[in-house]
């Protein structure tokens, strides 16, 4: 917890990132499980990144931030890989003419986890 005293952001940010990552993973699963859009690797990477946030509490903030960032970046890519066909369907416009609320919300959450974890890497510790 000495890390928290000297730089609270270096602990809080990874924890927020963890929480967001876990929430995103659970929502992603509940909305898309069983469908072609659900990518299991993305899900597990999000959960793993969420778990890593705990390392920030024991002073391994740098390491956690970096690995969390890589895991969330990778999970976002697997997420995109799972979703790209759905996006193309909407863009063609025959079966669907607009994106679902679930997709928009999930994409926003995934993007947020990546942004937050990027910030987490870049902050000074």
């Amino acid at each position: 917890m000495s890390g928290f005293r000297s730089n609270p952001l270096s602990v809080i940010l990874p924890l927020i990132c963890s929480a967001l990552s876990v929430v995103t993973a659970l929502l992603y699963r509940s909305w898309f499980i069983g469908s072609a859009e659900f990518n299991q690797i993305a899900f597990y990477l999000m959960i793993g990144a969420g778990a890593l946030g705990i390392l920030a509490i024991i002073g391994l903030g740098d390491f956690a931030a970096s690995v969390q960032f890589l895991m969330l970046l990778a999970s976002s890519m697997f997420y995109i890989y799972g979703m790209y066909y759905y996006v193309s369907i909407v863009l063609v416009g025959i079966d669907l003419q607009s994106f679902s609320t679930a997709f928009i919300a999930c994409s926003a959450l995934v993007g947020s986890t990546v942004a937050l974890s990027t910030l987490n890497v870049l902050i000074k510790r």
């Binding site: 759905y86 369907i89 079966d95 890497v121």
Partner: protein
């Protein structure tokens, strides 16, 4: 240093992640991307050095400019001969171009007409069409510019959006004083254009509150349109001399308003969707330069509620679906389209589609048949099937029918004389009445009072001149399908009547006159033949195939069902009163679910075909034998050829089908483009490297081929010569655009006017559809482009289309829904077929052996291959092998060949079917224009297109940078700790 390494680490991590993802995504879509970028994925190398003529299918054109111009001219010609003059009171039309040329055109469709429908049939880069203004001005009219400008300026406010018809009201139009003041100057005629158009995945609304048509009906007028008609009627005689309505809709607008005296409409013309240049023809029809000669390809109803189909149009859910819903997958493998498991529609009307219902019910009412009930023909029907007016008149005489026993055919002959004042073409329609007997009643065979069995259009006859028309009718056309009796085609004993008539109603009246001595028809136009019962001649080994699609005969149906079909024996008792209740049973559920996997396929068969044998044969060697004769698909040479392929090659070939067939280097098979229509090719000419446009570097390569009027208009020409011309023009477009297959012979039936894709299909009448389509197919395939008849079968609506159960009886399937496909294959030679998304009963169409193998191949003799409709996102990959075993050879998607790894051992039956499917694809390819440019000395090699090389290079470079930056970040981190 640490900061720099951090930033580098982040940046290169993003870069590498994006590049790696892009690599995998693009690797799955190489074909589409390469096509879009015009970069080939293979190249041809001539190892022989010999010069040979390898243009197996030749074009008649030297440049796209000429081809496009001819296509545009053909589009106009189709409209010229297909537009139907419905009403022409007091010879309102044609307008005198000298004295009646100043016209006002009302309706937002004046600036935004329906050129074509939406969905897969829409062109990606459509040519600029001839719009209303241009079309009318070219015909010599002077358009009210102020009114036109009003609609143009406010187009976005008034165009139809979603299911709202919209348009401007009369008060909107007249709110601008300058516009109102202009009416006087342009008052020779008021032309009102009413537009309706939909497309794929969207049926028209019939009674939905979100639609502003009267009663939530998209095919009724909305209040704005009515206000314009009322406003014009008030000004008629003072400001406007004539009121003319143009129905710019492939789906029939309810026509009752055309008779409403409130609106004072003088003339009406049905023009469907007009294509790239149909408006030119419309202008010329109104000016009299063209004498309209179209005849309706569908019945025009006063209101669609009179059509008994409407009681069963739409979707029902099985009455007890909730009892079984937990057994069905919650999604189909995607989160959007959703395979349907518990929805159905019942074609309760059986064969009584369109005029078959209207004329038969009328006939029975007039002839006082018991149970006919009340049916006022004039109340229900605005214009009958086959109807159409002309600017001249015709008389028929010298009608005769001769039977030739040797050929078992009837030669119908009639002389047509132009008794009017201007040249014109007439359509002679030959109708047949089959006897409705006790045998029929007992065995539930339904018979229409009149059915179209032949037609011919005259040349343009000058006033006073005449032409003898001869039409040949096959003896087999007299037979009906007896599903419940002998289970095959059956010729009933009794009197068979032929007539030559101008439309279906005139035909029916002729039959009434003949049979009952009524003074409502012309008995001189009727010939009668007595036939004995014959259960043998026309059965031809055909047996019932679709008991599984008839809820009354399906073996696992619930006894709680209250389903029945309409019967002429008891109209009143069998007319649909609301939708039918059908219940699921556990056996039905099992039948549905077994298709989702391969558990039904027995393993243990270790007898596999030969693989990888070196016979030194290339695909081009299978085009013709040493004497130059085509090698038939059942030749033993094909066995020798197929033995060369490996299991993996076969698996890849039969899983690569997204609007293509795949490349096979080892046997010199080129990849091919198989793409959409049907109202014209949808892709740009230069998009495929296989096309002449790309090969020659034609300057017009970025253009798309012309698009044509809706196919109902093509059908309404009743002109097989034009149909042949259309097919050949599509074939030319295919050569230049690089298509080797055309998903474009749309042959589903206009069962109701509310199917969103009606513009892609021909008619409610199977004979008219099949006869026109057969000519289109022949023309198309003469240029080496394989015709795909689609969608086989039971696909007469868009709602819940994926997995929707269609319940109908076998007689209706054979005589109505499958007959156009049969004719297109047997008479036209159609090579391939695309299945429908729906189910026949509970069986998915691509999983129906009865459809894909027994009917298409066994009965019709189709020798190409069957492709599913778009696979990915609709079907489960686990359904693929079931479909393969049924005879659906290729999914319309690019799937992983790994799907077939499981069957590499102990599934000899699957392996045999894989080989059969691959052979069919290769057979179709070798007989197509895909082989143009390929000789015995040609080798085809895969190449990595430049764009993909760039992606690979980028991925490698970014990966190296990522590793280095991560290493640097780690090292600076360790160094920092050390300090």
């Amino acid at each position: 240093m640490r900061t720099i390494s951090k930033i580098c680490h982040v940046v290169f991590s993003f870069l590498f992640a994006i590049m790696l993802t892009a690599y995998f995504i693009t690797a799955e879509n190489v074909g589409i991307i390469s096509a879009a970028l015009n970069q080939p994925t293979s190249e041809r190398i001539d190892v022989s050095g010999e010069i040979q003529d390898t243009d197996y299918f030749k074009t008649n054109y030297t440049c796209l400019d000429d081809l496009i111009n001819d296509g545009i001219a053909l589009s106009e010609e189709i409209m010229a001969e297909g537009a139907v003059l419905l009403k022409n009171d007091n010879n309102c039309l044609p307008l005198n171009i000298e004295t009646e040329k100043n016209i006002s055109i009302f309706g937002v469709a004046s600036v935004d007409p329906a050129y074509g429908g939406e969905g897969s049939a829409a062109a990606t880069n459509p040519l600029d069409p001839v719009d209303v203004k241009e079309g009318f001005e070219n015909a010599g009219f002077t358009i009210n510019d102020k009114l036109y400008g009003f609609y143009n300026k406010n187009k976005n406010a008034y165009v139809s959006t979603g299911y709202k018809i919209n348009d401007a009201s009369w008060s909107d139009v007249t709110s601008d004083e300058k516009v109102s003041a202009s009416f006087e100057q342009y008052g020779d005629a008021a032309i009102v254009i009413l537009k309706r158009i939909r497309g794929e995945n969207g049926d028209l609304y019939y009674n939905n509150p979100s639609c502003d048509g009267e009663g939530g009906n998209y095919l009724a007028l909305n209040e704005n349109e009515k206000s314009v008609l009322r406003g014009l009627a008030e000004l008629k005689g003072t400001t406007f001399n004539k009121i003319i309505v143009l129905l710019n809709a492939p789906n029939q607008i309810e026509a009752e308003f055309l008779f409403d005296p409130e609106y004072k409409i003088d003339a009406a013309l049905w023009i469907g969707s007009v294509g790239v240049s149909g408006m030119s023809a419309v202008g010329k029809i109104l000016s009299g330069e063209i004498n309209p000669s179209g005849r309706l390809s569908d019945t025009f109803w006063m209101e669609h509620r009179y059509n008994p189909v409407m009681a069963n149009f739409g979707v029902r859910q099985y009455a007890n679906a909730s009892d079984y819903s937990s057994q069905f997958p919650t999604t189909s493998g995607n989160s959007y389209t959703g395979m349907n498991y518990t929805t159905y529609v019942m074609y309760q009307e059986g064969i009584y589609v369109g005029y078959r219902y209207a004329e038969t019910r009328y006939y029975d009412v007039v002839s006082l048949r018991p149970g006919a009930g009340d049916f006022d023909y004039n109340e229900a029907i605005a214009y009958p099937f086959g109807y159409g007016l002309s600017y001249t008149s015709f008389d028929y005489k010298d009608f005769s029918v001769d039977y030739d026993n040797k050929t078992d055919s009837y030669t119908v002959s009639v002389t047509v004389k132009n008794t009017g004042n201007v040249a014109g073409k007439e359509v002679v329609q030959i109708y047949l009445q089959k006897p409705y007997t006790d045998y029929d009643i007992k065995n539930h065979i339904e018979k229409s009072a009149a059915e179209l069995v032949g037609y011919e259009k005259t040349e343009a006859l000058e006033p006073g001149s005449e032409q003898q028309i001869t039409v040949t009718i096959k003896g087999s056309q007299l037979a009906s399908y007896d599903a419940y009796g002998i289970g095959s085609y059956y010729l009933d004993a009794g009197s068979y009547l032929f007539t030559a008539a101008r439309n279906s109603h005139e035909a029916t009246n002729n039959f009434l006159a003949k049979n009952y001595g009524m003074d409502i028809g012309d008995t001189n136009m009727v010939a009668s033949f007595e036939k004995n019962a014959d259960p043998i001649t026309y059965s031809n080994g055909i047996v019932n195939l679709f008991d599984g699609g008839d809820i009354l005969r399906y073996k696992n149906a619930s006894d709680k069902n209250n389903a029945h079909y309409i019967s002429r024996n008891d109209w009143v008792g069998t007319m649909p009163t609301g939708s039918v209740d059908i219940y699921l049973t556990q056996d039905m559920v099992d039948d549905i679910l077994v298709q989702n996997g391969d558990s039904w396929i027995e393993s243990g068969n270790t007898a596999y075909p030969t693989y990888g044998k070196d016979a030194g044969l290339q695909l081009i060697d299978m085009r013709a034998d040493n004497e130059g004769n085509p090698i038939p698909s059942d030749s033993e040479y094909w066995d020798e050829f197929m033995d060369q392929l490996t299991y993996r090659e076969i698996a890849e070939l039969i899983t690569t089908g997204l609007r293509k067939t795949g490349l096979l280097e080892s046997i010199g098979k080129p990849s091919t483009v198989e793409h959409n229509g049907p109202t014209g090719l949808t892709q740009k000419y230069g998009e495929s490297v296989n096309g002449l446009a790309y090969i020659y570097g034609d300057p017009d390569s970025s253009k798309s081929p012309p698009y044509y009027p809706s196919l109902g208009i093509l059908a309404s020409t009743f002109n097989t010569d034009i149909a042949a011309k259309f097919g050949e023009m599509l074939g030319e477009d295919a050569l230049w655009a690089g298509y080797s297959g055309f998903y474009g012979i749309g042959l589903n039936t206009h069962r109701s006017a509310y199917d969103g894709r009606n513009f892609e299909y021909y008619s409610e009448d199977p004979f008219l559809s099949g006869a026109q389509a057969a000519k289109v197919v022949a023309g198309l395939q003469s240029k080496g482009c394989n015709a795909y008849v689609k969608h086989v079968a039971g696909y007469e609506q868009q709602t819940c289309r994926v997995g929707l159960s269609v319940w109908s009886n076998e007689q209706a399937y054979r005589e109505i829904y499958l007959e156009p496909f049969r004719m297109a294959i047997v008479d036209g030679g159609a090579s391939n077929a695309m299945t429908s998304y729906t189910r026949i009963g509970v069986t998915l169409c691509p999983a129906s052996r009865e459809l894909c193998t027994d009917f298409l191949r066994g009965e019709c003799g189709m020798d190409g291959f069957v492709v599913s409709d778009m696979w990915k996102g609709r079907y489960l990959d686990s359904q693929l092998v079931t479909c393969l075993m049924a005879g659906c050879d290729l999914p319309d998607s690019d799937l992983s060949a790994d799907i077939y790894d499981k069957y590499a051992e102990n599934y000899g039956d699957v392996a045999e079917q894989m080989r059969t499917a691959a052979k069919r694809i290769l057979y179709a390819t070798v007989n197509s224009n895909a082989m143009n440019g390929i000789s015995a000395g040609t080798r085809i090699v895969k190449v990595t297109p430049p764009w993909q090389q760039a992606v690979i290079a980028g991925t490698i470079v970014s990966g190296i940078l990522f590793l280095l930056s991560t290493l640097g970040y780690a090292i600076t981190g360790i160094s920092k700790r050390s300090f």
